[in-house]
């Protein structure tokens, strides 16, 4: 799935939720072709190449956080939710997203934890889950990424999240052979429970 397509979908749902607060919220679990995305407040110094010479597509997008990398083998979760129906508190929302990921890891028998003062989910000292969201009138977009069995080569050209020497990890390091299709159903369940969602025609 190309990044642009998913971004357009999110925008559509975000707009409709701003217009009509009770219209359907939307959640996607996807994998992207290799690309970099960079938040509006990000430091382009974290790109170890010139902005217009990116080896793969680079998107400047409307979320918080620094540059990150998406690629097959990594699940991205996008949630367009109206926080007006939950709690108008973005830190709360970030913690809820982390908990949704930690719950999934728990179901897999892995201990996931939060970083001290940092957003994201770690297994031991390796970051497996990253979070970055954008919000307009308390309607969210973007969400999280979870490394399952992806190739980290693309991360060598950036400083992920602007944290040098952040060690990245993936679930297949801990559970050899695990695939995206093994994790998606667990994510679906965990996100559904956490945000009390009812799925329709997905």
């Amino acid at each position: 799935m190309p990044f642009e397509t998913a971004w357009i979908w999110q925008k559509k749902f975000q707009e409709s939720l701003i217009e009509k607060p009770f219209s359907p919220q939307a959640v996607w679990f996807l994998e992207h072709f290799p690309c970099y995305t960079i938040g509006r407040g990000s430091n382009t110094k974290n790109l170890l190449f010139e902005e217009n010479k990116s080896p793969i597509p680079l998107f400047m997008i409307d979320r918080g956080g620094e540059v990150t990398h998406h690629m097959p083998g990594q699940i991205v979760g996008y949630l367009v939710l109206n926080l007006g129906l939950y709690k108008k508190d973005l830190f709360w929302y970030l913690r809820e997203l982390e908990q949704a990921l930690i719950d999934v890891l728990d179901l897999l028998g892995i201990e996931g934890k939060r970083g001290d003062g940092l957003t994201g989910v770690w297994c031991e000292d390796k970051k497996v889950g990253s979070i970055g969201i954008g919000c307009k009138r308390w309607v969210t977009q973007h969400g999280f990424s979870l490394n399952v069995d992806c190739d980290f080569i693309g991360f060598e050209k950036i400083i992920p999240c602007g944290l040098s020497k952040v060690k990245l990890g993936k679930l297949s390091d801990l559970i050899p052979g695990i695939k995206v299709c093994d994790v998606k159903p667990l994510l679906r369940e965990s996100v559904q429970k956490r945000f009390k969602l009812k799925w329709e025609n997905i």
Binding site: R40, G41, N43, L90, W92, L94, G117, L118, C135, K165
Partner: protein, 453 residues
Amino acid sequence: MATHDIFMPALSSTMTEGKIVEWLKKPGDKVERGESVLVVESDKADMDVESFQDGFLASIVMPAGSSAPVGETIGLIVETADEIAAAQANAPSQAASQEKESSPPPVQEKQTSFDSPKATEIPKTSPAPLVSESSVNQNQFLNDGRIVASPRAKKLASQMGVDLATVRGSGPHGRIQAEDVQSAKGQPISVPWIAESNAPAKIVSDAPRIEKKSVDSGKPPTPGKSFGSRGETIAFNTLQQAVNRNMEESLNTPCFRVGYSIITDELDDFYKQVKPNGVTMTALLAKAVGLTLARHPQVNAAFSSEGIAYPSQINVAVAVAMEDGGLITPVLQNADKTSLSDLSLQWADLVKRARNKQLEPQEYSSGTFTLSNLGMFGVDRFDAILPPGTGAILAVGASLPKVVAAKDGSISIKKQMQVNLTADHRVIYGADGALFLKDLAYLIEKNSYSLSS
């Protein structure tokens, strides 16, 4: 005729400060109610902030890139184009000077939160009902029974001449919201989408918090160390003898000293971010010095009988006092090329082995530049003696809050650290030392984040 403030919104009940990522409108632009005016970021979350009013963006009080406490005025909206000039004239002077420069240096931007008169007014007027221990609130309760209102409601009330005692609050626990003030005055209710703050007005605590850090030297002083009792003469130990030899030898070196005050607010922010990864302040300073030496090879050079010797590596030695007398200078090799976390790990290992006297000569004698830090004791400045065989040593004092005047005459409180370079004048000249310090200051003040490269 009315001017409406855009406040730093609370993206979370626990948020105290937000960063302005981008202004989507320029001063003078027309804005519609509900239209996004700027983007605010806190942690990993971005929020579009919308206008709650039709009108024109008159003034940007806090420019992109700066941070402001929740509830702080960050921009002004007026209802008609004619009012723009008047609002701009009344806006805090900082705004005017910043609009002229397209990308003002970050040091100046940060000052706004201190020198804007609004920053000091808000704490006095906001009741901060959720902060129970705040002493500022006590008077508030005495005056009018118990008025609990949002900062914006307070502000509106004073602008519109509404007595808050007569307004019924519709917020949580009867808290008075901006809409309540407007409806009390009979104005159409314009819902401030998120420009309304519902966070504890923690603004109050910002200034005192800085002061607290500065008085950590107020801990009861520990008694000074002595190696012998009164009336005794104690023989020097081996390490002390080595230090003595070096110090006496240094008298043959014609040294000069040059000092610089470096603002460390950005470095401190960066340190907070990387600390969870085990990065230490020693590693940060060594890396900053290493990277700067790479650009100033003359300051890394040393006198030799053949001429000026330029070492092949940049090895930063850091002075460590030994418990039983003497000092040792373990060396961080290739400090310019080693990552912060590796430097931190190496440093922890070196110090541990130094205490156990397990260092190899190579590990404490290969320094090409020395760092001596007495900042942890609250020392504000000192000068160091140059270790023989090297060209320069940097004495680092504590980073302490200081009242700083900027070029434009504005005053703010910044954390400042004094450093003092001692250098061998046969190799390094005054201008070399000065340029080195200027570059080091630039790196620490404006570019700390590049230390992670």
